[in-house]
C-alpha cells in the first residue's frame, strides 16, 4: 500500500467517525424537533415515524400547533421572562463580585491567601442539596420573594467558579504592568479598575457566559423555592412539570416545542462563543 492510499483510507475513517459522532450528539435533539412538529395523533402512532407523517396516507405532514400553544401558554411566557431576569442578574452580580475576588487572589499579596484559595476551590464543588433546607428556612424567615432568592442562591455556584477562573486569568497578566502603574502613582484600586479589568475582558466574557448558562439551566432550587409561588417559575421547572390540561396525557409535543424554544438562546451562545466557552470550562477545571 502506498502512503497516499494509506492517507486516503485514514481520511475516510476519520470522516466516518466524525459523522457517527455528530449523529450521536444530535440525534436526541433531532427526535425532539421531529416530535415537536407532530400532532397528538401523530405522536400516538406506532411505530413512531422519523419524520412527521400523516397517520393513514403516510404523507409527510408538519404541524405548528405545538409551538402556537406553547407561545400562548401564559406560564411558559412568564417563565421566559423569569429565567431571563434571573440569569442576567446572576451573571452581572457574579462578574462584579467575582472580579474583585479574582484580582485579590491572583495579583495581591496578603496573609491567609492559601486558605482563601482553598475555600474558593472547595466551594466550586459544594453539593447544593446540602444547603437546600437551610437556605429555604433563611429566605422564608426573611420573607424574600422567590426571584431575588434564586438570584442570590445561584451565586452559590456561579460566584466561586467565576472567582476561581478569573484568579487564573489575573495571575497570568504580567506583574510589571501592575508595578509600573504603582510607580506612576496609581493606587492599587485604580490599577485594577483602569488597567487590569480591561485586559481581562475576554475572561469576563467567558465566565459571564458560563454563569448565564448555569443559572438558565438550574433546577433544584428553582423547583423548591417556587413551589409556593408558581408565577416565579423558571423554564426548567415549567418544562419538567409541564402544566397539562386535565383531559390529556403528558403533552409531549408541547414539551418538546417548549424545550427547543428554551434551548435556542443557549445554542446561539455556544455557536457564537465556542472558543471562549471551551477556554472557560477548561480553565476552571484544569488549572487547579
Amino acid at each position: 500500500m502506498t502512503t497516499k492510499t494509506k492517507h486516503r483510507i485514514n481520511r475516510i475513517l476519520l470522516w466516518a467517525l466524525i459523522i457517527v459522532m455528530a449523529i450521536w450528539m444530535l440525534f436526541p435533539f433531532y427526535w425532539a424537533l421531529n416530535s415537536s412538529f407532530k400532532t397528538e395523533g401523530q405522536l400516538a402512532m406506532t411505530p413512531a415515524t422519523f419524520i412527521p407523517r400523516a397517520p393513514v396516507t403516510g404523507d409527510i405532514s408538519f404541524t405548528l400547533k405545538n409551538y402556537e400553544s406553547v407561545f400562548s401558554n401564559q406560564a411558559f411566557l412568564r417563565a421566559i421572562v423569569n429565567s431571563t431576569i434571573v440569569a442576567v442578574s446572576v451573571t452581572v452580580l457574579a462578574l462584579a463580585v467575582g472580579a474583585f475576588a479574582g484580582f485579590a487572589l491572583g495579583k495581591l499579596r496578603y496573609r491567609g491567601k492559601n486558605s482563601t484559595l482553598y475555600i474558593i476551590l472547595a466551594m466550586t464543588m459544594f453539593p447544593q442539596i446540602a444547603v437546600l433546607s437551610g437556605l429555604y428556612t433563611v429566605i422564608t424567615t426573611l420573607g424574600i420573594p422567590a426571584i431575588p432568592s434564586l438570584i442570590l442562591t445561584y451565586l452559590l455556584f456561579s460566584l466561586p467558579f467565576t472567582a476561581w477562573v478569573l484568579t487564573a486569568f489575573f495571575r497570568e497578566l504580567p506583574t510589571e504592568i501592575f508595578q509600573s502603574a504603582q510607580v506612576d502613582g496609581a493606587s492599587p484600586f485604580q490599577t485594577f479598575y483602569m488597567i487590569m479589568l480591561p485586559l481581562t475582558a475576554p475572561a469576563l466574557v467567558t465566565t459571564g457566559l458560563l454563569a448565564f448558562i448555569g443559572a438558565w439551566n438550574e433546577y433544584l432550587f428553582a423547583l423548591t423555592f417556587t413551589s409556593i409561588q408558581p408565577d416565579a417559575r423558571t423554564l426548567p421547572v415549567i418544562i419538567a412539570n409541564f402544566p397539562s390540561q386535565a383531559t390529556r396525557q403528558i403533552p409531549f409535543g408541547e414539551i418538546m416545542a417548549a424545550g427547543i424554544v428554551s434551548s435556542i438562546p443557549l445554542f446561539l451562545l455556544v455557536f457564537i462563543f465556542q472558543r471562549r466557552i471551551v477556554a472557560g470550562l477548561t480553565a476552571g477545571a484544569v488549572k487547579g
Partner: protein
C-alpha cells in the same frame, strides 16, 4: 533607607488592606448562602424538625443518623417440615425452602426491612436496613457515578482525539459537541423520557422492534432492571462532551514534535496513543475523573424528572424527604451524609493535586 523601607511596608499594608476589602463581598455572600445554611442544616439533623410548619421541634440526638444508616445481615433459616423435622425441599426443583426474609430481620427495638437477599456458601442471607430506600439510593448513586464516569472517560477520549485531529470544519464540530452539554437537564431528561416510552411511540422500542429485538413494549423506565442503565445512557450522552473538552485541553498541551519523533521511530498510531498520549494525559485524566465523580454523585435533575419516586439518587431522596414527607430533620441528616461523602472526595483531590497559590 529606613524611610524607603517604611514606605514599602506601608505599600504592602495598603495592598493587604485592599485585598481584604476586595474579598469581603465574596466571603460575606458565601457565608450567607453556604456556610450559615450548612451549619443550620447540621443543627437540624439532630432534631425532628418538620418542614414549613410550626410544630415544636425536639432534640433527638443521633436518631436520624441511626435510622438512615442502621444495617444488619441475618442468615435466613430454612423451613423445617413439622411432621418430619427435616429441612423442606421443593418437590419439583429440589431447592431448599427458606423462611421469609422479612421475618428473619429484627423487629425490636426498631424494625428492619429488606434491602436485598443473597446466597453465600449455600446459606441464604438477608441485608436489612431501617431505611432501605436510603441504602438503595446510596448504592444506586454509586453504581450510577462509577459507570457514567468510566463510560464518559472512554467515549470522551475518542471524541477528544477526533476533534483534536486536523480537518475542515473542526471549529464547527467543537461547537456541535457542546449541544448535549448546554441543553438544560430538564429539557434533555424530558426528551429522553419520551425516547424511552414503554411502547412503539418511543424511539428505542421502535428501533429494537425494527431490528427484531424485544416486544416493542419494553418498560425501560418502570422495570427496575432497566432503570439504572437508562439513567446511565442519558447521562453519558449529556456529559461526554464536557469530559471530551477537558481531555482536549490536555491533548493540546502535548507538544507535536513528540509525535513526529515517534513517527520516525515507526510507532503506529495505536502504540503512540498508549505509550505517549495516555501517560502524558495522566494529570488531566485525574482532574477530569474527580470533577466528574463529584458531579455524578450529586445527580438530582435527571433522577427527579425521569424516575420521580420510583427510584432515588442520594439527592432526590433528600429532596423528597424534605418536600414530600416534610421530614426536615431527617432530610438534613441525609444532606450531611452527602456532604461528608463529597468532602472526602474533594479533600483527597486537593491533597493529591496540590493547590498552586504563588507561582507568579
Amino acid at each position: 533607607m529606613a524611610n524607603a523601607k517604611g514606605q514599602s511596608s506601608d505599600l504592602a499594608k495598603q495592598e493587604q488592606r485592599l485585598a481584604y476589602w476586595l474579598l469581603a463581598p465574596t466571603f460575606i455572600i458565601l457565608l450567607a448562602i453556604a456556610i450559615y445554611p450548612l451549619i443550620s442544616v447540621f443543627g437540624y439533623s439532630f432534631t425532628n424538625a418538620t418542614f414549613a410548619s410550626n410544630k415544636p421541634t425536639e432534640f433527638v440526638g443521633l436518631d436520624n443518623y441511626r435510622n438512615l444508616l442502621s444495617m444488619t445481615i441475618v442468615q435466613v433459616p430454612p423451613l423445617i417440615d413439622e411432621a418430619t423435622g427435616q429441612i423442606q425441599v421443593d418437590a419439583e426443583t429440589g431447592e431448599v425452602q427458606y423462611e421469609s426474609s422479612v421475618r428473619a430481620l429484627p423487629r425490636e427495638p426498631v424494625r428492619f426491612r429488606v434491602v436485598t437477599d443473597f446466597s453465600l456458601f449455600g446459606n441464604k442471607y438477608v441485608l436489612g436496613a431501617t431505611d432501605p430506600a436510603f441504602i438503595r439510593a446510596v448504592w444506586d448513586t454509586i453504581v450510577f457515578g462509577v459507570s457514567t464516569v468510566f463510560l464518559e472517560l472512554v467515549l470522551g477520549m475518542m471524541v477528544a482525539l477526533i476533534v483534536n485531529a486536523n480537518f475542515k470544519g473542526r471549529g464547527f464540530m467543537r461547537a456541535l459537541i457542546l449541544v448535549p452539554w448546554v441543553i438544560p437537564t430538564a429539557v434533555s431528561s424530558q426528551i429522553w423520557e419520551y425516547m424511552f416510552q414503554p411502547n412503539r411511540t418511543g424511539f428505542f422500542n421502535t428501533v429494537l422492534w425494527y431490528l427484531g429485538m424485544g416486544s416493542g413494549e419494553i418498560p425501560f423506565l418502570s422495570d427496575p432492571t432497566w432503570q439504572l442503565p437508562a439513567m446511565i445512557v442519558i447521562d453519558v450522552w449529556k456529559t461526554t462532551p464536557f469530559m471530551a473538552l477537558l481531555l482536549l485541553a490536555g491533548l493540546q498541551l502535548i507538544p507535536a514534535d513528540i509525535y513526529e519523533a515517534a513517527d520516525v521511530d515507526g510507532a503506529g498510531p495505536v502504540r503512540s496513543f498508549f505509550q505517549l498520549t495516555l501517560p502524558l494525559l495522566k494529570g488531566t485524566i485525574a482532574v477530569a475523573l474527580v470533577f466528574r465523580t463529584l458531579d455524578a454523585l450529586r445527580v438530582f435533575d435527571l433522577f427527579q424528572i425521569v424516575l420521580g419516586q420510583a427510584r432515588y439518587s442520594m439527592a432526590s431522596f433528600t429532596y423528597y424527604e424534605l418536600i414530600q414527607n416534610r421530614a426536615m430533620g431527617y432530610s438534613s441528616a441525609s444532606s450531611i451524609m452527602i456532604f461528608l461523602v463529597l468532602s472526602i472526595f474533594a479533600i483527597g483531590y486537593m491533597r493529591s493535586l496540590g493547590v498552586k497559590s504563588d507561582d507568579h
